[in-house]
C-alpha cells in the first residue's frame, strides 16, 4: 500500500503571476471561489452598505486585483494571505465612493450567487460576532465548500458516485443520528462496505482540503499555521 500524499497544488498567489494564461485563469477562479463570499459578507456586516453596493464592491475588488497586480505587494512575513486580502479589500472599500460604485454597477463579471449569500446572512446571527471573525469563519467555510465540490467532481469522474452519496448522506447532512446501518439499508450495501467506502472517501476529502488550503496560502509556514488553525482543536 503506497501512502497517499498530495500532488501539491500551487499557491494561487504564485499562480496569478504565472506566464501561463490558463494557470492564471484557474488561479483567479480559485481565488474568487475562496474569497468572494467572505469578502461580500464582511462588507455587509462591517460597512453597513446595501447589498447592491457590496455586490459592486466585491465585483470591482476582484477586477482591481487583476488589473493593478496589487497582490505582488504581498509579504508573507508580515501577515497571512487571508489577512492581507482583507486589508486590501478595506483599502479598496475606503477608496470606492458610493457614486463611483453606482457608475460601475452592472459592469461586474463574476458569476457568483450574491442572492444566496444574502439569504445566508439573513438566516445567520452575524451581529453576534465581529466582522473579522465572520470573515475568518466564512473563509473556513469556503475552503471546505470548495473541497466538497472538488470531491463531488472527483468521485463523479472516477465512477465513485456511491462513495460521494454516502459521504453526502453521512457527513454533509446536519442530521447526526444517521447510522452506518441506516445507510447500508438505504443504499443496499453491507455495513462493512459502508465503513470502507466512507473511510476511502474521507481520505480523498482530507487530501482535497489540504490541497485547497495549500492553494489558499502563500508559503509552507502559512500553510501549516492555517492547517493547524482550521483543523486543530483551537480552530
Amino acid at each position: 500500500m503506497s501512502p497517499a500524499f498530495p500532488t501539491t497544488r500551487r499557491s494561487v498567489v504564485l499562480s496569478l503571476s504565472s506566464g501561463d494564461a490558463g494557470e492564471r485563469t484557474r488561479a483567479f477562479d480559485t481565488l474568487v471561489a475562496l474569497y468572494w463570499r467572505p469578502l461580500y459578507k464582511y462588507a455587509r456586516v462591517s460597512r453597513g452598505r446595501s447589498p447592491e453596493d457590496c455586490e459592486d464592491l466585491t465585483q470591482s475588488f476582484f477586477t482591481r486585483v487583476l488589473e493593478n497586480e496589487a497582490l505582488a505587494s504581498y509579504d508573507a512575513g508580515k501577515a497571512s494571505f487571508r489577512t492581507f486580502l482583507r486589508m486590501l479589500f478595506d483599502r479598496h472599500a475606503a477608496n470606492e465612493t458610493k457614486a463611483a460604485l453606482r457608475l460601475k454597477r452592472g459592469g461586474g463579471s463574476l458569476a457568483v450567487d450574491f442572492e444566496s449569500a444574502e439569504a445566508e446572512l439573513a438566516g445567520d446571527d452575524a451581529s453576534a460576532i465581529s466582522p473579522e471573525t465572520l470573515f475568518q469563519r466564512e473563509w473556513a467555510r469556503s475552503v471546505f465548500t470548495l473541497a466538497v465540490e472538488r470531491l463531488r467532481l472527483e468521485c463523479s469522474a472516477s465512477g465513485r458516485t456511491t462513495h460521494f452519496a454516502l459521504f453526502e448522506a453521512y457527513d454533509l447532512d446536519d442530521d447526526r443520528s444517521v447510522s452506518y446501518r441506516d445507510l447500508a439499508a438505504r443504499f443496499g450495501l453491507t455495513e462493512t462496505t459502508v465503513t470502507n467506502h466512507l473511510a476511502a472517501v474521507r481520505r480523498t476529502f482530507r487530501q482535497l482540503v489540504l490541497d485547497t488550503l495549500r492553494e489558499a496560502t502563500a508559503s509552507e509556514q502559512e500553510y501549516r499555521a492555517e492547517a493547524r488553525a482550521l483543523l486543530g482543536v483551537d480552530g
Binding site: F5, R141, F144, R203, F205, Q207, L210, L230
Partner: protein, 298 residues
C-alpha cells in the same frame, strides 16, 4: 455549491483531521496534545482493553520525510527501555500515509517546584537525570528538555517525555535547524548548530535545576554546578547527564563537588555538617573531660 451549516462545518473539520485508525486495534477517545510534528490522542487498545497514547503525524506536515522522522522517533524511544522513559508499544502507517505509534498513557502532572523542599527537589532532579543519562549512554540526545517534558506520575514515577527531536550523537544535525525551547536551549542550539551533543542536554538540565531552585538562593556549590552546566561553551560543561548528576549527588551527600573549589572554612563547615553525630560526641566528650578536670581538682 451548497452552503455548509456551522454544525456540518465543525463535523467536516473533524473528518478532515481525525486519523482513520479503523485498520488498527485502537479506537480514538480524545485529543490530548498537538505539536508541530504530531497530534497525541488518548485511545483504547481494543485487544488488550487498556488506554494508550497514540501519536499520529499532523495532517499539515504529512509527507515522506515527516513519516520517516516520526518512525525514527518511535524507534529511538523503543530502543531506550528505561522506567523513566515512556515505552512504545506499537507503530505503523495509516491508510492515508500518516505514521503513528502507540505508547503508554501517562497520567500525572508536569514538573513543578512549588511545595517541595530543596532536598526533595534535588532528589527529583537526580531522577530526571537518570533516563537522560541512560539515553546519553546509548548515544541519544533529547534536545528539548524542559519542565513541560517531565511528568510526575500518580505513583511518584518520574518520566521524561517528548523525544520528538531526539537524535543520535553519531548522526549529523540538520544544518540551520533550531531545535529546543528558549530558556532551556543551549547557545549552540540557538545558533542552529544542531549537531547532536549530550552537552546541549546538560545545559537544559542546568536551566531546569536553576528553575527548580528559583525560590531560594542556592548555596555556592549548587550555584557553581548550575553555572558549569549552563556554561556558554559546551567544552566548559559537564560531559553528560551522568557527570552532572554525579556532582549534584555529591552535593546532596555533603561531599565536595567538582564544580566548586571550597576554602578551608567551607570545607570544615561541610565536614561538621556531614558528621554532626561524631562532632556532637567529641564535643560532649571534651566538655565532660573539662568538667571532670575542673571539679576533680576540687
Amino acid at each position: 455549491m451548497n452552503w455548509l451549516s456551522d454544525a456540518t462545518l465543525d463535523h467536516l473539520r473533524l473528518v478532515a483531521d481525525q486519523p482513520d485508525v479503523s485498520s488498527t486495534r485502537y479506537e480514538l477517545i480524545r485529543e490530548i496534545a498537538r505539536g508541530g510534528m504530531g497530534v497525541v490522542y488518548e485511545a483504547e487498545d481494543r485487544e488488550l482493553q487498556r488506554r494508550v497514547a497514540l501519536k499520529v503525524l499532523a495532517t499539515e506536515v504529512a509527507g515522506p520525510e515527516a513519516v520517516e522522522r516520526l518512525r525514527n522517533e518511535a524507534r529511538t524511544i523503543a530502543r531506550l527501555e528505561h522506567p523513566g522513559i515512556v515505552p512504545v508499544h506499537d507503530a505503523g502507517i495509516l491508510p492515508d500515509g500518516r505514521a503513528w505509534y502507540a505508547m503508554k498513557l501517562v497520567r500525572g502532572e508536569t514538573l513543578r517546584a512549588e511545595g517541595r523542599s530543596r532536598t526533595e527537589l534535588l532528589r527529583l532532579f537526580l531522577r530526571i537525570c537518570e533516563p537522560v543519562a541512560f539515553a546519553h549512554a546509548h548515544g541519544v540526545v533529547h534536545r528539548d528538555l524542559k519542565p513541560e517534558n517531565v511528568m510526575i506520575g500518580s505513583f511518584g514515577e518520574v518520566l521524561v517525555m517528548d523525544w520528538g527531536v531526539a537524535a543520535s550523537v553519531q548522526g549529523r544535525g540538520e544544518e540551520g535547524l533550531v531545535v529546543g525551547t528558549p530558556g532551556f536551549m543551549a547557545p549552540e542550539q540557538e545558533r542552529g548548530d544542531s549537531a547532536p551533543d549530550t552537552r546541549a542536554d546538560v545545559f537544559a538540565l542546568g536551566a531546569m535545576l536553576r528553575l527548580l531552585l528559583h525560590n531560594e538562593r542556592p548555596p555556592k556549590p549548587l550555584r557553581a554546578i548550575i553555572g558549569k552546566a549552563m556554561s556558554a561553551s559546551p567544552a566548559d560543561r559537564y560531559r553528560d547527564a551522568q557527570d552532572l548528576a554525579g556532582d549534584v549527588a555529591r552535593y546532596a551527600d555533603g561531599l565536595p563537588v567538582t564544580a566548586y573549589r571550597e576554602n578551608l572554612l567551607e570545607r570544615s563547615g561541610r565536614w561538621i555538617s556531614r558528621n554532626r553525630a561524631l562532632v556532637a560526641m567529641v564535643l560532649t566528650y571534651l566538655v565532660m573531660r573539662v568538667l571532670v578536670f575542673l571539679f576533680g581538682r576540687t
